[in-house]
Amino acid sequence: MRRKTKLPGGVEEQTGRSWPRNVVAMMMRMKARMSLLRGREEEQPIRRKEAKPRTVMRRTVMWGKERRERREEGRKERRRKKKRRPRVRRTPLNSLTVVYAGFDSVCPFLPSSSDSNSNSSEEEESMSEGEMARLMEEVEEKKKLIANIRNKPWRMQRRLKLLKEAQEFVDKFEGALGKGKGRKWYAYKVMMTKKWIKFQRDFENFRTACIPWERKIKEVESHFGSSVASYFIFLRWMYGMNLVLFGFTFGLVVIPEVLMGLPYGSIPRKTVPRAEQDTAQDYSVLMDFNGYCKYSVLFYGYYNDQRTVGVLKFRLPLSYLMVGIGTFGYSLMLVIRTMAKNADVGGGDGEDSDFTFAWKMFTSWDYLIGNAETADNKYASITTSFKESIVDEQENQKDENIHLRRFLRVLANFLITCSLGGSGYLIYFVVKRSQEFATRDDLSWYEKNEMEIVMSLLGLVCPPLFETIAELEDYHPRIALKWQLGRIFALFLGNLYTFLFALFDEVNTKLEEEQSIKNASIWAMKEYYANYSRLMNDSEATPPPMDPADVIRGPCWETAVGIEFVKLTVSDIQVSYLTILIGDFARAVIVRFLNYCWCWDLEAGFPSYGEFDISGNVLGLVFNQGMIWMGAFYAPGLVGINVLRLLSSMYYQCWAVMATNVPHERVFKASKSNNFYMGLLLLVLFLSLLPVVYTIMTLPPSFDCGPFSGKDKMFDIIMETIDLDLPAFMGTLFSYAANPGLIIPAVLLMVLAIYYLNSVSEAYQNSNMELKKKMKMARDEEKNRRNNADTTNQVMKDLEDLLPNRSLIPPAPPEPEKPPEQEPKPKPTKTKPGTAGKGVNLQKDVALASSNPNARGPVSRPPGPRGPGPGPGAGPGRGRGRGPPPR
């Protein structure tokens, strides 16, 4: 109970006080009943004002006079309270839908105690532990309700009302919880939670306000369905990622070098050589990223190898390496996280064919469609798909010509492999030739740009070729899209890697060349000083430093690689934009306006309008990103170019798709293909990581350009930092960590962990499969039981099995027959329901019977021919309640 009546001195006082309080409380209750929604705060002061003087008065007047009487009275009161208590207790536990009035009328106890206890510590005890806990529970419940109210399928009006009530309740009572010291803490906690929620919401508001192009994508989506929109969402995601990469690269590498590094023209690597100075500003040279571009902050070679720059002692070379590696780290993390999130969202797998028709019926309409033409296409495609499945239904095995189809598919794959190989060879050939050309000067424009042109042409020609070949295969468009993506991906990848290998050849020749140049350069320097002292006849005088433009330099293979990548990216941008302009826009203009004076209907007939090429665009994006990842280390400016490209292409492609393209003929949904894109991206990321890491780890950096010049290997910069900047014990720590004795166990441990996690996930998968199987079985069983529930089915069946003509059937021993019967148990559900009228019914009954221990009998029936008609033994009980097959 909430008063401790045992206290010797407290009894009188208590009763004395509790009496008026109860009276007042009763009065208040009456009041509260009348004014239901009046705030609690109004009532409290009145009550307290009334209560205090009366207690005092009573105490003074009645002191020791009529103790017994009052004690009795008090007891009565307590009893009365006891009687009332259950109400107090029960009401908070009732559900929230309790009439508010009833609740309010009982409440006066609680806040009164809570309110006045800030004055007297004694009254704090007035709420017992249990009540407190209950109240706490209730408050928690209400809070949960507030958090989840949006998930409740109620009318908005009701939701708002309940929300308001719950909030009021929480506001009123959560301050009353906790006691003594805990109360302050509790109040503080509550306040902080409120603020935190508030902050989260504001942040969420801010975040959604920051997501760009929401309306644009929505517009595209409503015109072209979700598959096209998925490309734009992917593009936006890519833009976000590149923006972060851009921030890193520019914030930590480019801008420090520009602001704090040596200015242009101060040292050889930052100066255009004398020989090139005449042409360094020509447009054609600049477009090839030579001349001033080559000796700018865009490329690796420009960066100085000073350990620190500026007053801040910013370690630029270290930061360069870290950003180069961090780019990959960040991208990997982001891609994997996004993939995991997507995988989490993607609900059940669509492979179950249990609900072919039901799913078609209820989920085939894409509610996003808001464009008449798309809607028409969608109607048509839904109708077709229904008809297709009806046909499938009617003749379940329509693949009578499976051999032809197989042959065609093999043929298609063969052709595609051939063309892939051909394109790979072509690129290799072209790259080799370009190396030959590199030594010559009299080159035509074509010869100079041969490689880019060939690569772009391959990218233009091959995908449509693949698409044409893929028509042989006759897949569902969604599967066809994946195949197409995979093939173009292989093409791009093959091209990229051929390109890379050729580039490595070039790098190796440059490295050899560099060795000789290095010697020549040193020799020239010596010569210069010697000449100088000879000319001046004064060996003491320090000669003025050689003009940086005259110093002999090495080929700087890193910058060369960077230039290749930048050129490739830029030509890729040009080609893709031109393709859109010519292939889509010009085509659309011609079709639209020439249609007035043409012999046939251009819009409906041959050229027609273009469709948005999802696979090509996605892969273009992925491939482009791969080049950025690879090239960013050698050309920090590449990230900036890419950000510009993505930004412009968002607007440009949005415009192009809305203005010139028509929706796909077979509108299909992009179900989870987003993760497919991500998978491609991950693969590309990994593949582009390899060459970069290889060069960082193995190739020696150029001796006279770039942040790592003078080192044996690029990663030596880390060793240097550890040795020079970190305290000595860190160095020893690292040397221990790099000890093979430690690394090998670590690798082993990781392998073990991977193995363990793998087996765990396999086990989960297995149990998942088991559960699925069980669910399926339960479902079938349930269905059959319900279907036949109207008859005395089991008994009938058992009787049926005992019929004499059963035994006349060739004796099929029940024991060996069981496994084959149980094996194909999934079969009845796998063949689409109602494959052939009653055949399914029979099979399902068998499945039911065998899963039922009482009815093992039917298994003895020969499993062989199970024609569409019911066998002679099939009684009237079979398939009841389903009606005849509607034909």
């Binding site: 919401r201 808001g370 989870k672």
Partner: protein, 217 residues
Amino acid sequence: MILHRCVIVSILCKFRLHLKGFVIMFSAIKPSIQSICFSHAVFLSLQDCTFFTRKEILRLHGRYHELAPHLVPMDYTNEPDCKIPLALIVNMPELKENPFRNRIVESFSEDGMGNLSFNEFVDMFSVLSEMAPRELKAIYAFKIYDFNVDNYLCKEDLEKTLNKLTKEELTPEEVELVCEKTIEEADLDGDHKLSFADFENMISRAPDFLSTFHIRI
């Protein structure tokens, strides 16, 4: 004492947030709809009850106002009681092409006739938004496909659904077949109509349900 202080502080906070809310509102809205006014509390409760952020609610209100400028007042501070009839709502570009547009609006209206107040309007798009959970969507999908509002999807409902989906291009036999098959597939309790339990069981495994039962506003 500390409690009082907390109360005061929180009141102050609230007041400040009020101010902030208005400032944000006025700076965020385009001048054309600047006069839309919500009290902060309405915002909060709407955000609690739906999956929308402040910006989206404002945008929704803009759309709502656009539908019937003469019916809907700009000023929403004291939550006027007004409703927009179904005929106007189904003409929104988001719904115009939807074969189930009338059902959608009807099932979200309190009176069942398709007159939506602003709260119901927000509710509708909240359920159809991306963030709404599958269970919630399933409930409303069931309501939408339940043409004759008897809490079961019977054959009649399915036929209507199918005819709307295919623009009545299937022959009656085909329709019959498809409906039969649908019921056979999804009906667990053998009463030849789909109860909500059947429907949920079926839709919870549909791979495309979440991505298709979704309207971006």
